[in-house]
Amino acid sequence: MSRRKFCAALAAFLLAPGAFAPATARAAGRPLRIGLTPVFLDEQAAFLEAWRAYLERRLGQPVEFAQRGSYREIVDLLGREKLDAAWLCGYPYVRYERALKLVAVPLYQGKPLYRSYLIAPAAAASISGLADLRGKVFAYSDPLSNSGFLYPQYRLAQMGERAEAFFSRTFFTWTHRKVVEAVAVGMAQGGAVDGYIWDTLARIRPELTEKTRVVEMSPAFGFPPLVARASLLDGEVAALRRVLLSMGENDEGRSLLGQLNLDGFTAGDRALYDEIGRMARVVGGSL
């Protein structure tokens, strides 16, 4: 490191917000590992790299993203402290609440809320609700997804039905986007999908969503939040939260938010997820 670069780095260190906070992790240069799940369109490598670089610069700390095939694996990695934070669904958050801390909640259409959509093939005009799907094939996204699994289970429970008997066959696609695909190609006659993802897909890949039709919309639930493992230092949680919340304040952050089809992040409140917790109890999932 040349002398000039060293001076610049020192100045940046002194001027950086929270420079006097006990930033042990930062000083150690340990990377912040964030797990990602398909609660958003996580298959855009270029975008992920840009976001990761953004977070890294803003945090002043290396950031690593980790993606896995299911929510369960991410939850497991958080529990084993292999990950520091994760963007998870509300359902695993309330289910493993004791091991997690809420970092931030995305704002979608100005609110930290989203819905679960029940979709059917566009051609299947006879399907106008969940009740019409009796004996049909149904696609879930992930067993730990609120919008893609818990909510339809809850609805069936309300109707007094057992999911295993109601549908002739069900399967998991492990991402919301693939639920849309499965319904679009006619593999499943119904599917439960994250409303935010369906809306976003309708913007960027309309040819896919055109083949499907939203049959039912759930009430609004708390948007899948960013959480941290309980053992992560508060200072690090706060730093991450601050960086996320300030994304709407600069052009680059706004551009990234635009690609996510989100308006920003908010600190969020545990109460947003109460309804998910209630549904989980009705369906019978342990908390």
Binding site: R169, F171, W174, A182, G186, M187
Partner: protein, 482 residues
């Protein structure tokens, strides 16, 4: 149509046949190529299906064990996303059947939905299902139901040897079609190009081949009941069959012409002989009473009265009868035995006799006489013949008369040529008749007498006459000196 084809000129027939032959061979080659392409395409497809089937079957073990339908779908659907849809090796549809023969997943879920009964979906699937091998097979199997537009390749999905299900790949034979059409189009193009080159060549070649035949046929067509005088035949000169036919034809034509002229000559000769016989008969019949009448006049003159008027009448009668006698004598050409053989001197005498007449008429007389020694021919008759011909020639000539007398070992030839007006062809055969209307002076008996004399001497006389070129040739056979 058949008749038309049969009657068509070889000029067109040969190129047409070449065209048909070339087209037929091109077609046969194309068909054999297409068959080969079909086989190769099928083999390629089966090879491809075999390897792809094994890979897919292996990969499907996990998702099938875990009942992960979507993963299975992504696996079987991956060939469809990777390859272009026009690829001939792409399967039409891939199905995964579970152990009970129900559809676990298919690449066309809308048509072949999950849990559907494979063999009830499609009559062709049913046929394939009926022939599907018993469970436990290891490698891919090809099923080609009869009268079906599809090929099926089935691969068992085995986990540690235990069957989990069956992978069925259905291929449409229609996929071969674009490749087929492409090859057929290319073949048609090549064929058209080859024909475009071949056809002018065939046309030219056919024309060349047919030309000698056509000209031979055209030449033969000209031969009617008679051989035309100026038959022009441009025949092909070679040793092949056509050339030989042409040569034979020419020979035949020549013989035909000779025969014709011989016949003509014979007719003339016979007619003249008949006329001669008739004339001789009449002359004899006239001669007898004539001799009597002349005797009677003589007797009267000697012993009768000397009445001047009677005498005058008698003299008149006598002169008339004498003239008749003369004429009859001229008609009655009789060779008298001549003891005196022909010598050069006899011939030169004729020249001496004719020369004044030629001089009088301003005609140049060219004389060639090859005779040196005496010949066994009656001198009087030969002299008479020669004189007759010479005087005729001098009278007919414009400016020149040529006379050639020559001999070989067997004959003497007298040839007299003049440059006067020629004798029309149609008149030639009447030339030697008595009282010929062609004679411009005299009785018209000169040539008659000449002809009769030549015949009596056993010779021949030939007349060739063309404008400014008339030749009389007399050939006399030399009698044995002994």
């Amino acid at each position: 149509m058949n008749q038309f084809l049969r009657d068509l000129s070889l000029r067109y027939k040969i190129p047409l046949r070449v065209f048909v032959l070339a087209s037929a061979s091109a077609l046969l080659v194309t068909i054999s190529i297409l068959f080969r392409v079909y086989d190769e395409t099928k083999n390629d497809l089966l090879l491809h299906a075999d390897s792809m089937g094994r890979v897919l079957a292996n990969t499907l073990v996990g998702p099938m064990t875990h009942d992960d339908v979507w993963r299975a779908y992504e696996i079987v659907n991956s060939p469809f996303q990777a390859g272009s849809p026009g690829q001939t090796q792409g399967a039409e549809v891939i199905l995964v059947l579970d152990r009970k023969g129900r559809i676990f997943v298919s690449t066309r879920p809308a048509e072949y939905p999950m849990l559907g009964d494979f063999s009830r979906l499609d009559p062709e699937f049913a046929a394939a299902g009926a022939t599907m091998p018993a469970k436990g097979g290891e490698g891919p199997t090809v099923i080609e139901p009869l009268a079906s537009g599809r090929l099926f390749v089935t691969v068992p999905i085995l986990s540690e040897g235990a069957p989990l299900g069956t992978l069925v790949m259905s291929y449409s034979k229609r996929m071969f079609l674009p490749r087929f059409v492409g090859i057929a189009q290319r073949a048609a193009l090549m064929m058209a190009l080859a024909l475009a080159v071949l056809l002018p060549v065939a046309w030219y070649w056919g024309h060349r081949m047919a030309k000698p035949l056509v000209s031979l046929a055209a030449c033969m067509d000209q031969i009617g009941p008679r051989v035309p005088e100026h038959l022009h035949c441009d025949l092909y000169d070679s040793q092949d069959e056509i050339g030989r036919a042409g040569a034979s034809f020419k020979r035949m034509l020549k013989e035909l012409k000779e025969k014709e002229s011989l016949e003509k000559q014979m007719m003339v000769t016979e007619r003249l002989a008949a006329v001669g016989r008739l004339t001789a008969g009449i002359a004899h019949e006239i001669n007898n009473p004539l001799g009597g009448m002349l005797n009677a006049i003589n007797t009267y003159k000697r012993h009768g009265q000397d009445d001047p008027r009677t005498l005058k009448t008698l003299a008149l009668l006598e002169r008339g009868l004498a003239q008749i006698k003369e004429t009859v004598a001229a008609l009655l050409v009789e060779s008298k035995v001549e003891p005196h053989p022909l010598s050069r001197r006899d011939i030169e005498d004729v020249r001496t006799l004719a020369a004044p007449e030629a001089a009088k008429r301003g005609v140049a007389l060219k004389w060639e006489d090859d005779v040196t020694d005496a010949l066994p021919l009656p001198s009087t008759q030969v002299r008479q013949i020669l004189l007759n011909l010479l005087l005729n020639a001098i009278h007919a000539a414009g400016k020149r008369v040529e006379c050639q007398i020559y001999r070989d070992s067997r004959s003497l030839t007298l040839a007299v040529w003049n440059d006067g007006e020629h004798i029309a062809e149609e008149n030639l055969s009447y030339l030697f008749e008595p009282f010929s209307r062609l004679s411009r002076n005299g009785h018209g008996l000169g040539l008659w007498v000449t002809y009769q004399t030549v015949r009596q001497l056993g010779g021949g006389i030939v007349v060739e006459s063309e404008p400014d070129d008339t030749r009389f040739t007399v050939t006399l056979t030399l009698q044995d000196a002994s």
